[in-house]
Amino acid sequence: MKSILLLLLFLLPVNPDAVYVVVTAQATPIDQLTAWQLKQIYFGKLDKLRGTRLQALQLTQDDPLRRQFDSDILGDQADIQDYWLQQKLKGDARPPLTVRDWALLAAYIRRNPGYIGYIPMKRLNEQQGLKVIDITMD
């Protein structure tokens, strides 16, 4: 099933500007996360792993990279909006920090071990001091 999904991923038309990798600082002692763990981090439910404080970063809502990441990892937009509205009213909202562009996001991550975010895959080689987090499907 996983192979079929991977094959479909290659065959489906993909916006090259919306292909991303999940990254963190070189000093962060995390090389792999499950998709579920990544979702919990972005929903503010998981903020510590292997002794490291974690902080999720995201781009602005209109950014195609963010829309792709949200769709892949966090779910349907309606569900995400419902979730954050409930969390805000309950007083439990801890949303990711929002950054205006991927270059600034990469700069923040580089300087802060434990920060996690996503950048365009085609820009990865330009970025020093970052490493890719391998995301495995549950």
Partner: protein, 337 residues
């Protein structure tokens, strides 16, 4: 109260910190945030041929974050009750919640002040802007377990490979619901707990217990047990839920039992249909014995901020409690920002 709230809002806004977009070492968190919503409702019953339309509520929630661990939250409500026959219209402003939070981590936090009572699925998300229906379930309409408690609350979560455990305990005083049907409470010492497990994000099951002792009148001692379950299918498009409540009342011969089940199907990302069946004792709201109700709701979220609901409810009573009736309701709400 409104003047005080406005003054506080103005003061905090001038000292608030916005998200930093400069190339600093770390992006800044918002120190001050607000959330407000307002709604309007139209309702028509066929038993009395009565109907009303009114701007129902305006909510204002203010949050002040002091560093990474401390937060203060206040929630104020303005409510307008329409006039009926010999009863004049009534406007009320009251403090719904006010608490200080210490957040040790994402998995452990304390709250002191007036908080939402941690019981069941509906109560923690009871706002009209977040629930799927217009009419409340019988258990909530009657306020058998108060919506809020003033005291000390601890909530913890534990993430395991298959899901997440959440546990909450609270001690303090039960707060009387601001509703003319609510039973009077004064210095009603209360304590409760809630334990739930979410399996693979799709299945939620749990139980709550909440008891209070109300010295007014007959020194009422009430102990409530609530069980709840929810499952999600088809990528969250289909939701099934059931909640039940059993209330043991030491000063009365009769205990309270009530439950509801619901099925919600999301037709499109913006439309859904929700069907609810419920049954139970309806002592406070309609002064009735067993009431059975079926509710069919169509919901439409045209935008992130604007919400609409249309609903039809049938109400059937056991014995001579009252005439059966049907109700049509329309509701709209708007969220700021």
């Amino acid at each position: 109260m409104p003047r005080l709230v406005c003054s506080l809002l103005l003061l905090l806004a001038t000292h608030g910190t916005l998200i930093a977009q400069e190339a600093e070492t770390t992006p800044k968190q918002r120190m001050f945030e607000y959330l407000a919503w307002a709604d309007a409702r139209y309702q028509k019953d066929d038993a009395t041929e009565s109907d009303f339309f009114n701007l129902s509520q305006v909510y204002l929630s203010l949050r002040l974050r002091l560093g990474a661990r401390w937060m203060i939250l206040s929630e104020t409500e303005y409510e307008h009750e329409p006039g009926f026959a010999d009863q004049p219209a009534d406007d009320k402003v009251f403090l719904e919640r006010l608490f200080v939070e210490y957040r040790r981590s994402a998995t452990a936090r304390f709250r002191v002040g007036r908080v939402s009572t941690p019981a069941g699925i509906w109560k923690p998300i009871h706002w009209d802007i977040t629930v799927d229906t217009i009419a409340e379930p019988i258990m909530e309409d009657n306020g058998y377990i108060p919506t809020n408690t003033t005291g000390l609350e601890f909530k913890g979560t534990r993430i395991v490979p298959s899901g997440e455990w959440e546990y909450t305990v609270i001690v303090g005083e039960a707060v009387q619901d601001d509703d003319e049907n609510a039973r009077p409470l004064d210095d009603a010492a209360a304590a409760g707990g809630d334990l739930r497990f979410t399996y693979k994000e799709r299945h939620l099951m749990g139980a709550s217990v909440y008891g209070y002792r109300n010295p007014i009148g007959f020194d009422t001692r009430v102990l409530g047990f609530q069980g709840f379950y929810e499952s999600r299918f088809l990528d969250n498009r289909l939701i099934f839920r059931a909640e039940s409540l059993w209330l043991d009342r030491r000063d009365r011969d009769k205990d309270i039992t009530t439950f509801y089940t619901k099925l919600k199907y999301r037709l499109t990302p913006k439309h859904y249909l929700n069907y609810r069946y419920e049954q139970g004792d309806d002592e406070e709201s309609l002064r009735a014995e067993k009431r059975r109700a079926t509710t069919l709701t169509w919901g439409y979220w045209p935008t992130r901020q604007w919400r609409l609901k249309a609903e039809f409810t049938t109400n059937r009573f056991a014995g001579e409690s009252g005439p059966d009736y049907n109700r049509w309701s329309l509701w709209t709400g708007f969220v700021f920002p």
